[in-house]
Symmetry: C2
C-alpha cells in the first residue's frame, strides 16, 4: 500500500468517505485533496480542513482550480452568482437528471488532477464520494463513469492510478448511517448549495441531507 488520495469537498459524502478510507487503509496512508474552483459555498473548505484533522490523515492539500470556474462561467449555479440555485421541489424530472447545479465536467477535471497528484507521489489510488443520489443526479457520479475512466487510466505505461467510488451504489441514508458509526463530526460538514449562514433547507443538497437524517431518526447537528 503506497497510499491513497481522497477528494474531500467538506460535504457530507466526501467527509464520510475520508473517515471510511482512513479506517480501512490507516489514516497515515491517506492524503486529502480539496480543490477550490470558485464554488459559492466556500464554507465547505473550512469544513474540509476540520474533517482532515478529525480523520487524522497524513496531509491535507488545498489547491486552487479557479480556472475551472473561469472556463465554465455562466454555465452552473454553483459557480455563477447570476444562475440561481433551484429548490429541489421546483425541478422537473428532466432537470433532476442534470440540474443547473451541474458543473460541466467538474468530476473529470477533479479526478484528472487527483490522478496527477497521486502519480507524482507514487500513489495509485484515488477515492471520490460519488453516491447514488436518490432524487437527482449527475452523469459523472455513476458507476459507469468511474469504470470508463479507469479504462482510460489503465493505458498508463507506469503503474496506473485507479479511481474508486465506493459509495456509488449507496443512498445518502446509507452514507449517513455509516458515518454515524464512524463518528464523523457532521456538525463540521456543509451541504447547502446556497451561500447563507445556515442551510437553506430547500435546495437539492439540503433536502436530500435532511431526509437521510430524518429517516434514521437522528437529528442533523448542522440543522440544530
Amino acid at each position: 500500500m503506497s497510499g491513497a488520495v481522497v477528494l474531500l469537498s467538506g460535504g457530507l459524502d466526501s467527509s464520510t468517505l475520508l473517515h471510511a478510507v482512513a479506517r480501512d487503509l490507516g489514516a497515515k496512508g491517506v492524503v486529502a485533496l480539496t480543490l477550490c474552483y470558485g464554488q459559492k459555498h466556500a464554507r465547505e473548505i473550512a469544513c474540509a480542513a476540520a474533517q482532515a484533522r478529525a480523520a487524522g490523515v497524513s496531509r491535507h492539500r488545498i489547491a486552487d482550480v479557479a480556472v475551472l470556474g473561469a472556463l465554465v462561467a455562466g454555465a452552473s449555479a454553483l459557480t455563477d452568482p447570476a444562475v440561481p440555485v433551484p429548490d429541489l421541489a421546483g425541478l422537473s424530472a428532466a432537470q433532476r437528471e442534470q440540474p443547473s447545479t451541474y458543473v460541466p465536467h467538474r468530476n473529470l477535471v477533479f479526478l484528472s488532477l487527483a490522478a496527477a497528484f497521486a502519480e507524482a507521489q507514487g500513489m495509485h489510488d484515488v477515492y471520490y464520494g460519488a453516491q447514488r443520489q436518490d432524487a437527482y443526479g449527475y452523469w459523472d457520479c455513476t458507476p459507469a463513469f468511474a469504470d470508463r475512466l479507469n479504462a482510460v487510466l489503465a493505458l498508463n505505461r507506469r503503474e496506473p492510478v485507479r479511481v474508486h467510488a465506493p459509495f456509488a451504489e449507496l443512498s445518502k441514508r446509507d452514507i449517513v448511517r455509516l458515518g454515524l458509526d464512524l463518528g464523523v463530526p457532521y456538525a463540521e460538514t456543509w451541504s447547502c448549495y446556497r451561500g447563507g449562514d445556515r442551510p437553506c433547507g430547500a435546495c437539492p443538497a439540503c433536502v436530500e441531507r435532511g431526509a437521510a437524517f430524518r429517516s434514521l431518526g437522528v437529528p442533523d447537528p448542522l440543522a440544530a
Copy 2:
C-alpha cells in the same frame, strides 16, 4: 456546426492542427485554448498567440492551470527546474516509452478542462494535437486514449463533447508536410523542451522536429 475548441500549445503539432481545423470547419467557428501550467518553455505561449492570429480564429483563450504544475512538482522535466530535460540520444528504449518529459496525466487534465470550456459555450468538439511520435511517446497521445476518453464523455446526459485527435496516426513528417501546404508560419512555433533562446537541437522534441524538416528537404525556419 456549433464550433470547436482546439488545444493550442504553440508547438509544431498543435499549431498545424489549428490551421487544419480552421480550414476544415471555418476559422470563425474555432476557439483556440492555451493552458499554461508552469512549463519551462513558456515561450510556446507567445507562439500560440501568433498562430491564433495567423489562423484567424474567432477567439484565443489563455488560461492558467498552474495547479497542475504545483500538484506534480518534482515529477516531470517539463515543470521542475531540478529535473533535467534528457537528450533523445540518451534515452533507453524503456525511457522512450515514457520519458521524464512526461507530465503525469497532463493531457487528461487539459482535455477535461477543454471539454468543460466547450460544453459551457454549447460546443461539442475538442481537438488536440496528439501525433504518432516515431521515436518516443506518451500513453496519453495514443488513439486508444482518445477512444476511451470519448467513452467517458459519451455518458453525459446533455449532448456529449467529443475529443478528436486527427493527427494520432500521423508522423511528425506527415504533419510538417501538411503544415507547409497550409502555410503554417513555423518560424512562430516552439518545440524545444529546454528554455534557451534558440532550440537546443538535442532534446527529443528538437530531434524529431529536425528530422521531419530534413526528410522533406525543407529548412526549419526556426533553426535558420
